[in-house]
Symmetry: C2
């Protein structure tokens, strides 16, 4: 039989899964907003960030409360401390989706992404969404296999990010300075989004195996 | 008389001050590397990041160890949890200085910053260094006055960041796309460096007053 304490611990893990799904939905909608110059989607992501912030504050408060009330030791202490760190990464993923949505809104009714970069940015959005979905599954199921896959997806993101710069630096680039700034910033946001997801997955690996995977600067 | 436990807690605070100073030195040297195309300074920042990462891991291990051994309650628990969060912010500040140094190295022997932006970027570097110095003092002395000053310095940074974009978007911009990408990225790194310092200061305010200051996305 489980006690109330472990039920609360499980509920925190479930909320981590929920907040990760919100971040995944945000990056998906932000990508649509960006590529299709869809102001409604952009506004939905921007206003929707409050729900992510609220769930973040809620998870944090519950984890701190459990820490203070139960003074857990060993693995339970590790789970709670790790949850506090993971939720900070995931909240930041929401912020990065928000930044992408703001670029879309700033350039509306134009699209910030010129036609020659649509396919690349679409793929960045898809990879980010995939990484985010795997991230939820890793949190929910502590699946190390999936955590490893997520690292490979992140390599794909890095390749796409480099491709973005190659297009910007090509003589054929027609987007001008303003376009280059927007693409540079959006590229950075997608890359950081995935870095945070990788960081979450690595924390789960650490919880399960005790092996620390060094996060690259 | 203090007990060993509180000595260890104080030692963690002292190490937080030390790591913040390392981040301050890194951003200062990275700015020199960037503006003066100084490869030696760039390499020093890049190789010096290992010391910041090491101190980060060390502080984290000591804080986790204290948490596990002493099961602190109330304010001591809050201090330890807050220390864990602050050190993550400060480690990230080191990474951002490293990114700036890498831009300097990539463009060597040229400077990534064209003459018309030297003064602005110099000021960004100085503000970042000042914010970082105040951040150490806030950690060491829990000085709320200084924490408020730091917020105002961050507003100055935001103004400088906007100025950067105005120069990039002016018809007189001669730096081309590559120059615009570098300036955009460096501007973002300085801005994020200061955001993390503000976040650290806000955590100290929260420790002292129990009042949470909302961090903007």
């Amino acid at each position: 039989m489980r006690d109330q304490y472990h039920d609360e611990l499980d509920a925190i893990t479930q909320s981590l899964v929920d907040i990760t799904r919100l971040a995944g939905s945000a990056i998906n909608r932000a990508t649509t907003a960006l590529l299709e110059a869809d102001l409604q989607e952009a506004e939905a992501v921007i206003s929707g960030d409050a729900a992510i912030d609220q769930l973040y504050a809620d998870i944090e408060a519950r984890a701190l409360d459990l820490l203070a009330r139960q003074q857990p030791v060993a693995s339970d202490l590790r789970i709670l401390i790790t949850s506090l760190r993971m939720v900070a990464d995931i909240e930041r993923m929401g912020d990065l989706a928000l930044h992408i949505a703001k670029v879309a809104r700033r350039r509306y009714p134009a699209s910030a992404i010129p036609p020659e970069l649509h396919a690349t940015v679409l793929e960045m959005g898809q990879v980010a969404q995939r990484i985010c979905a795997k991230c939820s599954s890793v949190i929910a199921g502590r699946d190390l296999q999936l955590a490893a896959e997520l690292e490979r997806d992140d390599d794909v993101m890095d390749d796409l990010h480099r491709k973005l710069f190659r297009v910007l630096l090509d003589d054929a680039w027609q987007g001008g300075i303003e376009g280059a700034i927007d693409v540079t910033l959006c590229g950075r946001y997608y890359e950081r989004f995935c870095d945070h997801a990788v960081s979450v997955a690595r924390r789960v690996i650490y919880l399960v195996t005790g092996e620390r995977v060094t996060v690259e600067s």
